[in-house]
Symmetry: C2
């Protein structure tokens, strides 16, 4: 890379001081109109761009946000797009790191981003993360951070989350209204907050409708479509098989769907199904799959906005939790024509 033009180059060629050039570039007072014009002209000619690295060193912030996500699937990619949008508007750039749902990778990524001196973090934690020291260290250093989607227990942080319980509740309630009597719940890793919240909603709906809960109908299947398929096959082999399934993700719902089709059962007549995320694919399958929609793009934008407000306020604001509302999208997989 050729060395880029610096403020010194301009100063030298114009026989003025770097201070003056600096002032001229930033449209500050205390600089003659003619010199300013000369500076600006030469800057244009040399394609001068202020060196953000030097500024970062001086001002002690980098105008970059470290974004930590488990992956870049539909939901996260959409959320990242929202973050990006907001960040760009506010003059920030974004460093995205994927943990691939691995705790070790997450720790490494935090470290790297910290070394790069990001101004703070926007985080959706890996599902395998059970220790939170790496996050707590950030908190001790008073580094701003905002969590979104995947919450972390035992930490006082800003969060932007979905009302997960409500989402699962809507889904479960819907199936109950359609006449389902035995509703299974395909959950994620046992330690995952969103999975547990959704389970609460599922249980609450059953309780509300005075349906007895059967713990054996709750199956943990990671985020794996394959695994979900196997788990569903097992469910369908039981003598008292479920007539409805609520899942915590569309991937899992698809796994379930494959198992149901394989078995030759009809959807929704024999068994109704609801996914979570409202990925575009759900509307394309046949039958199309009902799913709980979460405003991913919005969530990203709000997380970024919260983060930036956090940065700009110097008196530390109290931690806030912003909860967004899910919306059940009913499709063929659960619409029982009466």
């Amino acid at each position: 890379m050729d060395k880029a033009a610096t403020i010194k180059d301009i100063a030298r060629r114009l026989h003025i001081s770097t201070s003056t050039v600096s002032r001229a570039m930033r449209d500050q007072p205390d600089v003659n109109a003619d010199t300013k014009k000369a500076v600006l002209a030469l800057a244009e000619e040399l394609d001068y761009q202020p060196n953000k690295v030097a500024l970062s060193l001086l001002k002690k912030h980098t105008y970059t946000i470290g974004v930590l996500v488990p992956n870049l699937d539909y939901f996260c990619a959409t959320a990242v797009k929202g973050i990006d949008e907001m960040a760009l508007e506010a003059g920030y750039t974004v460093m995205v790191c994927q943990s691939n749902e691995s705790y070790g990778r997450e720790v490494v990524n935090v470290r790297r981003l910290l070394e790069s001196r990001v101004d703070g973090f926007i985080i959706s934690a890996s599902s395998q993360t059970k220790a939170f020291d790496h996050f707590k260290r950030l908190q001790e250093k008073n580094i701003p951070m905002v969590f979104f989607d995947r919450e972390t227990p035992d930490m006082d942080t800003h969060r932007v989350v979905l009302d997960n319980a409500d989402g699962a509740m809507q889904a479960t309630e819907h199936l109950l209204q359609q006449g389902c009597k035995r509703i299974a719940f395909l959950a994620g890793p046992p330690a995952l907050s969103i999975s547990n919240k959704r389970k609460e909603g599922y249980l609450a709906a059953l309780k509300k409708y005075k349906t007895k809960t059967d713990e054996s109908l709750i199956v943990h299947c990671d985020f794996n479509q394959q695994y979900a398929q196997v788990a569903t096959e097992e469910l369908l082999r039981r003598k008292k098989r479920p007539d409805g399934i609520v899942t915590i993700s569309d991937r899992i719902a698809i796994g379930a769907m494959l198992a149901i089709k394989e078995k030759g059962l009809r959807m929704p007549e024999d068994i109704a199904l609801v996914g979570f995320n409202n990925e575009p694919v759900t509307s394309l399958l046949s039958p199309s799959i009902s799913s709980v929609d979460q405003p991913a793009f919005e969530m990203g934008k709000i997380a970024a906005r919260t983060f930036i407000e956090l940065l700009n306020s110097h008196e530390k604001p109290p931690v806030s939790t912003i909860t967004l509302k899910p919306r059940l999208i009913i499709r063929e997989s659960s619409r029982i024509k009466v």
Copy 2:
């Protein structure tokens, strides 16, 4: 954010000079074993992390890669994952910017990343980009860059691309072998290199099988599923409707599929269909959609590796073009049982 410990803090507390601390931290000679131990211990205690920003200023490189992609859909997200993987391994961090297929946004992103002093760029150009000044300026400044997927005409740059012509050729040839006589081609924006290359492959296959080409069967439909659906509806309304469709993306193929289903036509008996990208969704639809698989993850990894090699070699290596091979995955949408 609390101020992080610096090398000066350590030096002061140990009554030694910053030079010595610096040497100790980097395991250099010319430092006594005891002092080194003391430095390391104190560094640990203060959770000292070298300030990369200061280093960047001094060394004139930031160990960050600017990644420019049109979006984060399946293909790009997978490629970015490959880039990320490779970058992490080599000690680089990645700044991902999405252009949302907008030329203006792309220009802005180049500028921002340049201000952030990334060491170079890995780029897949926006489909709306027809002027390349923003890229050429990079080239003039000798800033390393590698293009992947979306090529740019008239520029001598390193590239990692798919053999797009071959991919479309395989798809078209396959349909011809299945007995299709009138094969339509759903293309992308007319200026998009990958679209044009694939068109060439399509035409080459027709020629090879001595099938006469009909320009009216080539329809440009952006990357829009909706538009593809409308375009296909129009195709199907013609008196001499096509009996096969080759598309340049799975999104477009899905649009086409919706139109075909709407019309009540059978796939593949009445009309056969092949997509491009081999997104997971293609295997889930019914009928499942044949698609040309491209090794996105690999492409990302190779692009990153090429980029890093480019950085490390100081004598400028000649521009290289690495071409990866596509692989046609045949599914129900085009498998005609004879």
